[in-house]
């Protein structure tokens, strides 16, 4: 007999448990069963993911224990290891340079907007099968991170923290369909709402149906009092297309976010909003024909010469 009553009873019980959890999770907000379990998962699996990311990512650390060796054979092994390590160092220089450049850009943005933030690295990303666009980063409540804090990188708005564990937190990315942020047009000051749509373009809904919008217009976060969930003045993206909606009560445009979500690595979690609204000072300069001729990455700008490996203290005070 392949299948019997007992198996079916167990199946029914487990399905009932799952169904109960789903129902409870839909009803409850913060402090519900769902968020409690997620907090538990954050504490249990966060450190596991951190450890795994630490093992997987820096390749060169495997050969550290090979330096104290006396016999010849072992010396050869050590030299071979060193050779390999050097080879890896050569290979990873590009990555280090890129990371240093990203950090430099992030610090630049933080300085411009006078945000106080905690730098963090993406360690895990959500699967496509779960439909969510979320990421785990390696900073948590121990670093002062709380739910609903704004997450940025050197290019602009990344998302917001939706749950925080001791050493990790989960970031809802701006392209997630559940993501919502109050926004402001950089020039005209028109107010609207930005919403993610997964791989489809981000949508901006302006409350004024007569608002003048053209492609190339820049959009920043509006920001609410106390800077949660969003601090003011963070660049969101540029208008690429305006949706023709005659007779509608609002105006809809599509945005190209400044942040590239497929190569997300170093981010900053804003732990303290600026005392003064930075208005439009953080926006990237409007591209001019001459600057578009420079291929990205070919010549590092003078500001990006920070030496790799030298990282600032976790809390950066502007």
């Amino acid at each position: 007999m392949r299948d019997n009553r007992r198996t079916r009873v167990v199946l029914a019980l487990l399905l009932l448990t799952a169904f109960t959890l789903i129902t409870l999770d839909i009803r409850g907000g913060t402090g519900s069963v769902g968020s409690g379990l997620r907090g538990l998962g954050q504490s249990v699996f966060g450190p596991v993911e951190r450890a795994a990311a630490a093992v997987v990512r820096p390749v060169g650390d495997f050969f550290d224990g090979l330096s104290n060796i006396s016999s010849n054979a072992k010396k050869i092994a050590a030299l071979e290891a060193q050779n390999q390590q050097l080879q890896q160092l050569v290979d990873s220089t590009d990555t280090d340079r890129r990371r240093a450049q990203e950090l430099d850009q992030l610090l630049h943005v933080a300085g411009l907007g006078r945000y106080r933030m905690v730098p963090a690295q993406v360690i895990a990303l959500s699967s496509a099968q779960g439909f969510a666009w979320t990421a785990t980063v390696d900073a948590g409540t121990r670093d002062g991170v709380r739910s609903d804090m704004t997450v940025i990188n050197g290019d602009g708005l990344v998302g917001r923290v939706i749950s925080a564990g001791p050493s990790t937190c989960t970031v809802l990315l701006m392209i997630d369909p559940k993501f919502d942020v109050a926004a402001r047009m950089a020039g005209s000051g028109e107010i609207g709402n930005v919403q993610g749509h997964g791989q489809a373009p981000v949508e901006l809904e302006l409350f004024n149906a007569q608002a003048q919008v053209v492609s190339g217009d820049q959009v920043v976060t509006l920001g609410l009092s106390h800077g949660r969930p969003f601090v003011p003045g963070v660049p969101i993206g540029e208008v690429t297309r305006v949706k023709p909606t005659p007779g509608a009560l609002d105006r809809t445009a599509y945005l190209q976010p400044y942040v590239s979500f497929t190569s997300l690595d170093l981010v900053g979690i804003v732990t303290e909003p600026p005392r003064k609204n930075p208005r439009d000072s953080v926006l990237p300069p409007v591209p001019t024909p001459s600057s578009t001729l420079v291929t990205p990455g070919s010549t590092p700008s003078p500001g990006s010469t920070a030496s790799p490996g030298v990282l600032p203290s976790p809390t950066t005070t502007p």
Partner: protein, 170 residues
């Protein structure tokens, strides 16, 4: 016997979870990428039978529901993978079965879990389903899982048999 099963299942599920979240998802594969945990659940269930398959599936789904950066409806993966484990357990393969049964099993369960997950998400009003491109995701998941089957399933199945060489029929 049961303790050894629990240890092996835990180790395999944790390994596949970490590989999925920390390594595979960073590649941003077109079509979504493979579903490693499902491959582990299907392999274990097909060797151990429906009852252990149901339990392993539920455990895998529960881990997937709470491990960061998960943000779907809590308990949904637990229910979906529990069903997948039960279904794979019903097929209950032994070494004499032809290889193609494994491929059919992986393809059917891969498509089914995405369909059921999307269906329930849509029923509970999750706005993400509309933006997800479910059809492309089903095709992508099935293809990647089939591609990985020869590399993952025989190894996991062999480990499962070694831990529990003569599964008692329950």
């Amino acid at each position: 016997m049961t303790i050894r099963r629990v240890v092996l299942a835990t180790a395999l599920l944790l390994t596949s979870l970490v590989l999925q979240l920390v390594v595979v998802n960073r590649w941003h594969l077109p079509g979504g990428g493979p579903f490693l945990m499902l491959l582990v659940v299907v392999s274990l269930a097909a060797v151990w039978g429906p009852m252990p398959g149901t339990v392993v599936g539920f455990a895998a789904g529960a881990i997937l529901d709470v491990a960061p950066p998960a943000d779907g409806p809590m308990g949904l993966w637990a229910g979906v993978l529990c069903l997948a484990g039960y279904a794979a357990g019903l097929v209950w393969l032994d070494q004499r079965r032809p290889v193609w049964i494994w491929l059919v099993l992986v393809a059917v369960t891969s498509a089914a879990v995405v369909v059921v997950y999307a269906g329930v998400s849509a029923l509970v009003g999750d706005p993400r389903v509309a933006a997800a491109g479910v059809l492309g995701l089903i095709i992508g998941t099935v293809l990647y899982d089939l591609l990985l089957t020869p590399f993952v399933v025989p190894g996991v199945a062999a480990l499962a048999r070694r831990v529990d060489p003569a599964p008692s029929i329950r």
